[in-house]
């Protein structure tokens, strides 16, 4: 019902906007509707049968209050399988004060800058492809890293004396809402077999530097982000934690103690706390020459966490909690190319790679330690897309993916071990999407 009301509101305002162009408040909006179909594996819920749970809608109001002050707010809702579910949220809502070209202050809720295109994920209409390259922009993080509440300093500087191009920066500092129901919360819960009870993120700094070089059309960009994160709950009473217990007991030399603990140590359904941080470093290059755009981008995420387990003992006082460090490095990159053939036709394509653990690119560890198929250690996605522009306000995109690997589908579908036998290393994904904006 909310979805219908929201869509009606957007379409009504779109119609009325024609008569209100000269009013002080600018109103813009967009509606998209997509369709996803995959072979072999479920990309998101129900994609093997084909799903329409793949849409976005947004509506924004903005006003240039004074020459220095601009304010705007955007309401947004999306559906992506189990995520989003057309729940209306504030995509951004901020006041922006322009001091100088090199100093602009934004306060409020703003879109999180992430690589070249991270903040365009919701903006279907401005890119040639439907899905962003998942090596650098995993769909699983969408609901976690969309917006931040806090401050943002940004600006650009062009040296006068010598032509060095333009250097621009954006520094964000604020809170990102990462509940246990978001992609990151679900991913960690899945990784450590936890029923999550709480999840929180610290205030996170995010710095993006971009250099539009003197070479026409070439820009280089680097990003550093730091995010403290804490997740806790209770462990599953399952084979994963039983194997952790076995590993701990292997290190005990006292046979009597080992036998005692084997019988009495409880590691299932006990409290666990995971506390640490992500460091994300992204760099990229984009080259535009008339209708051709070529982009290369690479992202590394360093994950450094302490896992504290509060085990129990049968008929005895519980032992002291055990804390183990856990480190992991995630790597992703892509090569992307797009070419606009005419006003109504654009072609695009990319090849993207994602490794959830750079120490296990072949899946040996994930297979031996966790019993998962090796293909969960990587995802290599080759994508071709075609975009048809009906006019400036509407377009249709069609897209095909050939994917080797399954590293991102387990987070998205809460895939349990029982379903792993049905997972195939090679699979196809097809997407179609209509997009309208005003």
């Amino acid at each position: 019902m909310k979805k219908i009301l929201f869509t009606t509101l957007i379409l009504t305002l779109s119609y009325n906007m024609v008569y209100a162009l000269d009013t002080a408040i600018d109103i813009h909006g967009f509606v998209t509707q997509g369709f996803l179909k995959s072979t072999e594996n479920p990309f998101i819920k129900d994609t093997k049968d084909g799903t329409f749970q793949f849409n976005e809608m947004g509506l924004n109001f903005s006003n240039q209050i004074t020459d220095d002050l601009h304010m705007g707010i955007q309401l947004f809702a999306y559906d992506f399988g189990d995520a989003g579910n057309d729940k209306i949220s504030i995509n951004y809502g901020m006041a922006s004060y322009y001091f100088r070209q090199w100093l602009i202050l934004d306060v409020g809720i703003s879109k999180v800058k992430s690589g070249f295109y991270g903040d365009t994920r919701d903006l279907e209409m401005i890119r040639p492809n439907i899905l962003l390259p998942m090596g650098v922009y995993p769909e699983v993080y969408r609901d976690s890293l969309d917006s931040a509440k806090g401050i943002e300093l940004k600006g650009s500087y062009r040296p006068d004396l010598i032509d060095l191009g333009v250097i621009s920066y954006c520094f964000q500092y604020g809170i990102i809402d990462i509940s246990q129901d978001t992609g990151i919360g679900k991913g960690f819960s899945h990784e450590f077999h936890i029923n999550a009870g709480y999840s929180s993120a610290d205030k996170a700094p995010n710095l993006v530097l971009c250099w539009e070089t003197p070479i026409p059309g070439l820009r280089l960009q680097g990003q550093y982000a730091f995010l403290g994160y804490n997740l806790g709950g209770t462990t599953h009473d399952d084979a994963f934690w039983a194997s952790q217990k076995t590993k701990v007991l292997e290190d005990i030399e006292d046979q009597a103690l080992k036998d005692y603990l084997k019988e009495n140590l409880i590691v299932g359904n006990v409290p666990v706390d995971i506390d640490g941080d992500f460091e994300i470093i992204t760099c990229g290059m984009e080259y535009t020459r008339q209708n051709l755009v070529v982009t290369l981008e690479r992202s590394v995420s360093l994950q450094d966490f302490d896992i504290t387990l509060y085990p129990g003992l049968k008929n005895a006082m519980p032992p002291n909690p055990e804390t183990e460090p856990w480190k992991n490095t995630v790597l992703g990159y892509y090569y992307m190319l797009s070419y606009r053939i005419s006003d109504w036709l654009q072609l695009g394509g990319y090849y993207t790679v994602f490794y959830p653990d750079t120490d296990d690119k072949r899946g040996n560890h994930i297979n031996a330690e966790k019993g998962l198929p090796r293909s969960f250690a990587w995802e290599k996605d080759s994508c071709l897309s075609v975009r048809f522009d009906f006019n400036r306000n509407s377009c249709l995109k069609l897209e095909g993916h050939y994917i080797d690997g399954t590293s991102q589908i387990n987070f998205m579908n809460d895939q349990d071990e029982a379903g792993y036998d049905d997972i195939n290393r090679y699979w196809y994904l097809f997407a179609a999407k209509f997009s309208f904006n005003f």
Binding site: S62, D122, G217
Partner: protein
């Protein structure tokens, strides 16, 4: 020997002459755009980088502190010439750039005009407005014509 050279020379010179006449005419036709602004703007000269920074939303105020109001001449030929020569973008890339700006909260969309006379009227009556047209503005219009420096 001369008989063989003269026709050969003509065969080179004639196409060159044709190119000089029609080529220059073509260049002259594709020159532009002409940048105009509201009469209250202090600046008379803008560099190509100023134009780029203004139309890409980086520079938002004039020297005196007045806010810049952007207008876009939405006629295909002049828009194509302008975006290519000054922004190194295609019209589609330029439009997408501004869609990105409004949907991430970075400002308001420029005012688009398909009628050049309406654009000139708007700039004449507005404060701090800038735009581009295909030829010099009518003399009776109180708009400023910017000198563009490299």
């Amino acid at each position: 020997m001369m008989h063989t050279k003269t026709p050969h020379l003509n065969s080179i010179m004639i196409p060159i002459a044709i190119w000089l006449v029609f080529g220059f005419a073509g260049i002259a036709k594709s020159q532009g755009p002409v940048f105009i602004g509201s009469p209250d703007i202090f600046e008379s000269t803008l560099t190509k980088n100023d134009i780029k920074d203004i139309f890409m939303g980086k520079k938002k105020k004039w020297v005196g502190g007045k806010g810049i109001t952007l207008t876009v001449n939405d006629q295909t030929d002049i828009e194509k010439t302008f975006t290519k020569a000054y922004l190194r973008k295609t019209p589609a890339q330029f439009i997408n750039f501004w869609k990105y700006q409004i949907f991430v909260g970075n400002g308001n969309l420029p005012k688009f005009f398909t009628d050049e006379n309406q654009l000139i009227d708007y700039i004449e009556k507005s404060e701090g407005a800038i735009g581009y047209i295909s030829s010099d503005p009518p003399k009776e219009k109180k708009v400023k014509k910017f000198i563009i420096a490299d």
